[in-house]
Symmetry: C2
Subunit: 229 residues, 2 copies
DNA sequence: GTCTATATATAGATAGAC
DNA sequence: GTCTATCTATATATAGAC
């Protein structure tokens, strides 16, 4: 190697990070931790787990990479801290499932959309989705959340066969994928009302007919676990 | 990981790659290129674009990393070469869309499933899906393929509004995601027949009712572009 | 609590020997 | 056509100064 090995040696002069500031703790209460988490949520949402670096999170948050490490230990620590799910199913799900029998489809679609249209709630969900595609740890996190917190409880609350709840979830997730990830038209630009018109009957049907089109489904008896796990 | 700096200096003795062999071209016709592409398809399917390295592809294919570069130039070259889509929509789609009006749902679900159940055809699709989540190049590839090769042509062939075709695609993609990526039960273990029973009526409905539940849809006239893009 | 400096690993890519 | 060796960039992680 020639002379290009270590190009910089001075500190705080040739580097123009953000505002010039001496070392040591900043004055005032520390909101830095939350800023890092917000930046991390955005980064994980955009790039997924593996492609998001601690350095890029630090850069987005305007802090030093070592500070991120200081707060959360390592990348996985940042991830699990950032991925506290932004929807509380224990509050949201019973409210949805308590809808009148014939409006369960519309209620569910509207609730689902209201969460996804909200940028601050969509980001962490997208982060989990993106990361679950390529990272086993994220896949386990998402699978467990979906299964125990949403799907199984929805099945129990309404006595709907789990397979049909899965199908309804697939419909909603698939549409969100086309709308927000691939941004395929015209569904990416459709209004909430258009989507409700389009999807509510499908969701309604999954929750309406416990036996499917010709009664061949294996069903989960309402309020009772049929031993599927 | 190597224990010290440069542990090996000789060639073909201390290294036990696969079989011992001298340098230079191997005898016989060269199937190496295809082997590399097969390995690349598997790797991209498992890890996505960014997390797949040229070195890991070479390792999986049993060749030297430099050879991968020799054939395909760079990582993007390997990707586009590996991602030649394993389903030919110009052959498959008209066959599906020519089904009897009342069996379009079942036909489409069965065809879709037959592709996804086939490991060799599922791998490259999964690769595209995974990569599209985190990589813009892959997202563009997948969006263009889905839009021009599948969705718009399906809409034209049947005169179905594009928004409804999008919804049908979302249903299928979402279910495949739950089944093959997240492996959520019970849909991950459901049989083909169960899935046809479950999903065919939904797909059928999207292709059946051009006006939606109360006629509010914007429609695409058959064989004519309504100027949505 | 926040920073600089650096150890260590691995990525994509190139040059050139055989 | 296939390989070794190496360059450059960037990743995660750690040590310790202030």
């Amino acid at each position: 190697m020639t002379d290009v090995a270590r190009p910089r040696r001075d500190s705080g002069e040739g580097t123009r990070r953000r505002a010039k500031r001496g070392p040591g703790r900043r004055p005032g209460p520390t909101a830095t931790r939350e800023e890092i988490l917000n930046a991390a949520r955005t980064m994980f949402a955009e790039k997924g787990y593996d492609a998001t670096s601690l350095r890029s999170i630090a850069r987005a948050a305007g802090v030093d990479p070592a500070l991120v490490h200081h707060y959360f230990g390592n990348k996985e620590g940042v991830f699990t801290a950032a991925m506290r799910f932004p929807v509380d199913p224990t509050e949201l799900l019973p409210r949805v499932m308590a809808a009148p029998k014939e409006r369960i489809g519309e209620t569910l679609v509207r609730t689902f959309l209201s969460v996804w249209e909200d940028e601050t709630r969509r980001a962490p969900i997208l982060a989990l989705l993106r990361s679950a595609m390529t990272n086993e740890r994220a896949a386990v996190t998402l699978r467990e959340f979906l299964t125990t917190a949403l799907l199984e409880r929805a099945s129990e609350l309404r006595g709907t066969p789990k397979l049909r709840v899965n199908a309804a979830a697939g419909q909603m997730i698939g549409v969100m994928f086309l709308r927000f990830v691939l941004r395929i038209e015209p569904i990416a630009s459709a209004s909430t009302e258009e989507l409700v018109e389009l999807l509510a009957p499908t969701i309604q049907r999954y929750f309406d007919e416990p036996g499917g089109t010709d009664g061949g489904d294996k069903t989960a008896a309402p309020g009772e676990n049929n031993g599927h796990r």
